[in-house]
């Protein structure tokens, strides 16, 4: 029989595998000719990273060497890019003039790396990461030392980064999204990965948007970000994704969507043309991992070697990162949902994270970091859709626990040897705790802490210690009732704040991982609290997470019951001017604001402003020199004053002036709950100082500082902190007191509750009696104010958070008719 002619365009991993199947099935059905744009044989693209890092040579990763093609008398045209295909004459023509005719054709053009078309993308030194040439270019650059910027924190980008870092380059990774590999990992796993890579000296910058690549005589010099940051570098590696390479297919009129559209039999819209690999779109999907491509190869081979009912079937491919030491595994669908149950297991000490997503008693997805051994097992459960209701309680502990009751934490502790360490900080073993408890008859956690030091330091072992106590005391032991931040955690506010400091946690995902949150994303209760604690703990370092703030603080206005807003400009110390009043009146007219009210805080409230008017309203108020009064903030609200010595016959000091100074010092600061001050010019107390969070009462000899008053849900008079003689002292003492409250208050805890909890004598001993401590708090307050005294209105008028204020679209009804 005369052999049919099979021509293959592209010589990547997919067609390579297809040929192997074809040769097995029907060795001499076809005379095979391959065109490959790359000037080389078929190699294992997956293994380019080991080549980059020098662990392997190119020869090590060749799949089919020259001999293989000869033995199977396959003609391979290397470095021959196909540019023309004539579907009528059934011929293929390459750039360098080779013409071959075919009976069957296979398009296997793979995909092209996507290059961000930003200014400078065409400079020399800007590389992709796709083939051996890219890899060699990177190695050549690294040989000269210097630094590299990798754009893209996905699989490829991170492999490139790790490789370059391993061969001695300074590497910075720029990633647009808040966490690495967000398509494959949830935020928790992304955080652990980031932590690991940073520990190797790779500088990871998320939410980094590349503005342009800067060069000098045609050569890359640096990358500039949207925010103006400039990062010097000698090469830029773009790994921001791939696009199916469909140009040729399009030119010859095959049906092309995102990829070359094929049937489940891998047949294109031309029955004589098949397609396999990353260039294919089958069942509406395109693929970027070899497992599905190999399945395509098998199916295509079957159909080429005769009638067959082989069909391509979609299946989830697990993601792994081939960077030694970064063990991660993710498969399936791990987005949350009502109908889904999320089972999370975190081990802060071991730095591991496991999350299995269950729907209708079947596993539909899993994300793992650190402890990945059970990945394949979960993947099996996912594929088989096996009913897991039997093992639900122990599922998360992995295959090893099935059948064995190892899931019970008490049992786990019971199995621990006596010399097993329970408290790492203090090196306390289980045996020590048990014997001390028996010898001294200890029954409470406090006692055990006092006598053994177990869990007395970082406290992360508290749970373990309690389990040991439970075992030793049996029923006699009651778990201490802690008032937790919310249902997402077993920690109380104080513990969370302490651990944020102790462990240097600087992001919400970091806190949730290290403190073993039981939910993936927290809730509306814990997120704002954590955001505040991080703002307070890391001034200037932590970037405020807008999505974790209540709407009032996100849009810097109070939402009203009808969804409109109120706008309260600051009037420092309750003083205003004709110009300010005029500006307020004009704004009220211009935006026909329904209500203008004098507030209980000695300033003016514009109520009923439409959301879309907020920005222009603020602009006009800004232009008149006014800033936000923060009437919405868990932060400084008002400093009320009386007329004081300037006018009042009783006035002893300039209460108004002091109030203004205080408000100028304190405005903009965030605090656990709102903070309101007042300054009265004499003990008649017309500014109600003695029911404020902090209140000053002026006297002949100077100033009385009071605090811990309440006049809202709860009524309580202030307690006196002490007397001072100068205005400067008032400012310093009040700022120090505020900072102490900012650092130790529980979220939403007003000063009076905080002081009741800590004790007034204790606070006095720290802020009033201890000059050194006071000085420390005062300085830390001034430092954090550097970052918080920016007017949020001005920022937004200038364009910040614009999305908050304008609708995304306005659909006129006709459009939908």
């Amino acid at each position: 029989m005369t052999q049919k002619r099979l021509v293959i365009v592209g010589n990547g991993m997919a067609p390579g595998r297809m040929l192997e199947h074809l040769l097995d099935a029907s060795p001499d059905a076809y005379a095979v000719t391959i065109f490959n744009a790359e000037p080389r044989v078929n190699y294992d693209r997956i293994m380019l990273s080991p080549v980059l890092s020098g662990d392997k040579s190119f020869d090590d990763i060749i799949i089919h060497d020259e001999a293989w093609y000869k033995d199977n008398n396959i003609t391979l045209h290397m470095g021959a890019k196909v540019t023309k295909i004539d579907r009528i004459a059934k011929t293929v023509t390459s750039e360098n003039g080779i013409v071959e005719s075919y009976d069957k054709l296979v398009m296997a053009t793979g995909s092209n790396p996507f290059i961000i078309p930003c200014p400078g993308h065409d400079l020399s030194g800007v590389l992709a990461y796709r083939d051996l040439d890219d890899t060699n270019n990177m190695r050549a650059a690294a040989a000269k030392g210097g630094s590299a910027v990798v754009i893209g924190g996905g699989l490829l980008g991170l492999e490139a980064a790790a490789g370059l870092n391993q061969i001695g380059m300074d590497v910075t990774v720029l990633h647009l999204m808040p966490t690495l590999m967000e398509r494959q990992l949830d935020t928790a796993a992304g955080y652990l990965l980031e932590k690991e890579l940073e520990s190797r000296g790779i500088d990871i910058r998320c939410k980094a948007n590349t503005k342009q690549i800067l060069g000098e005589d045609g050569q890359v010099k640096a990358v500039e970000l949207d925010d103006g940051t400039v990062i010097k570098c000698d090469i830029v590696v773009m790994a921001v994704g791939i696009r199916p390479n469909v140009q040729l297919a399009q030119d010859i009129g095959l049906e092309v969507n995102r990829g070359i559209v094929t049937t489940n039999g891998m047949q294109t819209s031309d029955p004589d043309i098949f397609s396999v690999g990353e260039c294919v779109e089958v069942g509406g999907m395109v693929y970027g991992l070899v497992a599905p491509l190999y399945q395509m190869a098998k199916v295509a081979a079957a159909h080429l070697s005769g009638p067959s009912d082989a069909l391509f079937k979609h299946s989830e491919t697990p993601t792994k990162l081939k960077v030694t030491g970064c063990d991660l595994y993710s498969v399936g669908d791990f987005s949350e949902g009502e109908d889904r149950e999320d089972i999370v297991l975190r081990d802060a000490k071991g730095g591991t994270y496991k999350r299995v997503i269950v729907q209708d008693n079947a596993v539909i997805g899993a994300v793992m970091y650190g402890a990945v051994d059970d990945g394949p097992w979960y993947n099996e459960l996912l594929k088989s859709a096996e009913d897991i209701s039997e093992m639900r309680d122990t599922l998360i502990f992995g295959q090893a626990y099935q059948g064995g009751g190892g899931a019970d934490p008490l049992a786990a502790v019971a199995n621990m040897a006596d010399d097993a360490e329970i408290c790492g900080c203090n090196g306390i073993t289980k045996g020590t705790i048990v014997s001390k408890m028996n010898d001294l008859g200890l029954t409470t956690l406090a006692d055990v802490r006092a006598h053994t030091k177990a869990s007395a330091s970082c406290g992360s072992c508290t749970g373990l210690v309690e389990n040991v106590m439970a075992l030793t005391l049996g029923d006699a032991f009651q778990m201490p009732e802690v008032e937790t931040v919310c249902g997402c955690t077993t920690h109380d506010h104080a513990t969370v704040r302490r651990l944020i400091e102790a462990k240097g946690l600087k992001s919400i995902p970091a806190v949730m991982q290290e403190l073993e949150w039981s939910t993936a994303e927290g809730c509306a209760k814990c997120r704002p609290a954590l955001n505040y604690y991080l703002v307070a703990a890391w001034p200037g370092e932590y970037e405020d997470d807008q999505q974790s703030r209540f709407i009032n603080e996100r849009v810097h206005a109070n939402i009203q019951k009808d969804g409109t807003y109120s706008v309260v400009p600051r009037m420092f110390g309750g003083m205003t001017t004709p110009d300010e009043l005029r500006a307020i009146a004009d704004v009220a007219d211009k935006f026909d604001i329904p209500a203008v009210k004098v507030t209980g805080g000695q300033r003016i409230d514009l109520l009923g402003v439409k959301k879309d008017d907020l920005i222009p309203v603020w602009k006009d108020l800004n232009d008149a020199g006014m800033v936000s009064g923060a009437a919405y903030a868990k932060g400084l609200r008002t400093v009320k004053t009386c007329v004081g010595a300037d006018w009042c016959r009783f006035g002893t000091q300039d209460s108004t002036g002091l109030g203004i100074k205080l408000e100028k010092l304190l405005w903009g600061s965030w605090s656990p709950a709102k903070l309101k001050l007042a300054v009265s010019g004499c003990p008649r107390n017309c500014a109600e100082s003695t029911c404020k969070d902090i209140g000053i009462v002026c006297v002949e000899s100077g100033y009385e500082i009071h605090y811990g008053g309440a006049a809202g849900l709860h009524i309580q008079g202030t307690t006196k902190l002490g007397n001072v003689t100068t205005e400067q002292e008032v400012l310093e003492y009040c700022a120090a007191l505020t900072q102490y409250y900012r650092e130790t208050g529980h979220y939403l805890e007003r000063i009076y509750k905080w002081a009741d909890r800590l004790g007034y004598d204790h606070i006095k001993s720290v802020i009033y009696d201890d000059a050194e401590a006071r000085q420390g708090y005062y300085e830390r307050f001034l430092y954090s104010q550097k970052f918080s005294q920016v007017d949020p209105w001005a920022e937004r008028v200038a364009g910040a958070e614009a999305h908050e204020f304008a609708p995304m679209a306005d659909i006129k009804l006709e459009a939908a008719e």
């Binding site: 987005s335 994303e521 809730c523 704002p528 996100r554 009808d562």
Partner: protein
């Protein structure tokens, strides 16, 4: 009470919506809140809490639920129904993604 999509109308791209956030789409007299979860899933609900009409687009998004900014009712982005002890539901709109473009079924 899922609205059967009469038309698909493009309302913007994924990037227009902040992660764990929402944007409003004005549709005649109705305001629709279009949400984006941390996992980049997109949902659309009428921008009105079934309890006190709070604008859900301004709530805090966690998982596939949003907490009403006025009353902290927790509303499912998938079904529009109030979670836990509360009961009531907000109208949902079907959403379709084509590439990065967000379409609402109206």
């Amino acid at each position: 009470m899922n609205v059967q999509s009469a038309h698909w109308v493009a309302v913007g791209t994924l990037d227009d919506i902040p992660r764990q956030g929402a944007r409003r789409v004005l549709y005649g007299d109705t305001t629709i809140a279009v949400f984006r979860t941390s996992q980049d899933r997109v949902f659309a609900l009428e921008d009105r809490c079934p309890f006190k009409d709070g604008p859900l687009s301004e709530g805090i998004v966690h998982g596939v639920t949003v907490s009403c900014p006025l009353t902290n009712w927790i509303i499912s982005l998938e079904t529009g129904e109030a979670q836990g002890a509360d009961s009531g539901a907000t109208q949902t709109f079907s959403v379709k993604m084509e590439g990065d473009t967000v379409f609402l079924g109206l």
